[in-house]
Symmetry: C2
Subunit: 152 residues, 2 copies
């Protein structure tokens, strides 16, 4: 029996996983950390809206750029949670995203150029070298365990 609401198509876990290129277990995990949502059928099966595909693409892309799921979740909190995001909602997020990516790209570019300079100039003072401790605009927190407080 097809869905009752007109205009909203619901997809099953397998379909989402297949089309988004992730494992079903990943969907569970993303849901458990509040990145995506689902409703349940009468038989307790998950159902996703189509825009979940877009959401997952967003998440994966952000990860590729080195953003943690935590940070991604924060970004996604800008999207409305109670309704399916409209194109306008996505556009707003995309613009923010665009800006962050631009910033990061600029950082990488600076990093690249400074690195060559550093090697060339023989500078060894990492503390004062802009290369060794650039600003962290996108807010990457570093991987792995907790950070040591640096000279507290």
């Amino acid at each position: 029996m097809p869905q009752l609401e007109p205009g909203v198509i619901w997809l099953k876990p397998g379909q989402i996983a297949e089309r988004a290129g992730v494992a079903v277990s990943t969907l569970h995990y993303y849901e458990s950390v509040g990145l995506i949502r689902s409703r349940r059928t009468s038989g307790n099966r998950r159902e996703y809206t189509r825009d979940t595909l877009r959401l997952i693409a967003f998440i994966r892309a952000a990860q590729r750029v080195g953003v943690s799921l935590e940070k991604i979740r924060e970004a996604l909190d800008q999207l409305p949670r109670e309704r399916v995001p409209t194109k306008r909602d996505w556009a707003r997020l995309a613009r923010q995203w665009h800006d962050d990516l631009t910033t990061r790209i600029e950082e990488l570019t600076a990093l690249r150029d400074r690195f060559s300079d550093c090697i060339g100039c023989g500078c060894l003072s990492l503390r004062s070298c802009p290369y060794s401790n650039p600003e962290d605009v996108l807010g990457r927190e570093g991987t792995g365990a907790r950070r040591l407080p640096r000279r507290p």
Copy 2:
């Protein structure tokens, strides 16, 4: 008693850690995975050459860009292991690095622009969308556990 070899200055773990902005335990870890090296004093204390500072800066920068320590180690294997790398050695690595970073920057730029396009055009076909599965030139392996074989 200062060092016997003229021209080579040896630094203690604390000095390296302080100047490079990492914990001493990180130095141990990096050494254990073959990223950096040390010699020992008669009293079994580690001693590092100055270029270790540069090495660590390289490592941290690479990590910021999302490169795994494994990949970094592979890159560093281009440096001579038996002698202190010269400026020429570093320059070669820097050039390689420069190229990789450039590639990655271009990827990010493409990603950013395509993402805006994707949102704008309403495309939902992630499988065919170039945004959803871009090439991975720098070879980031993804974080966390092993990857699922995608439709094997």
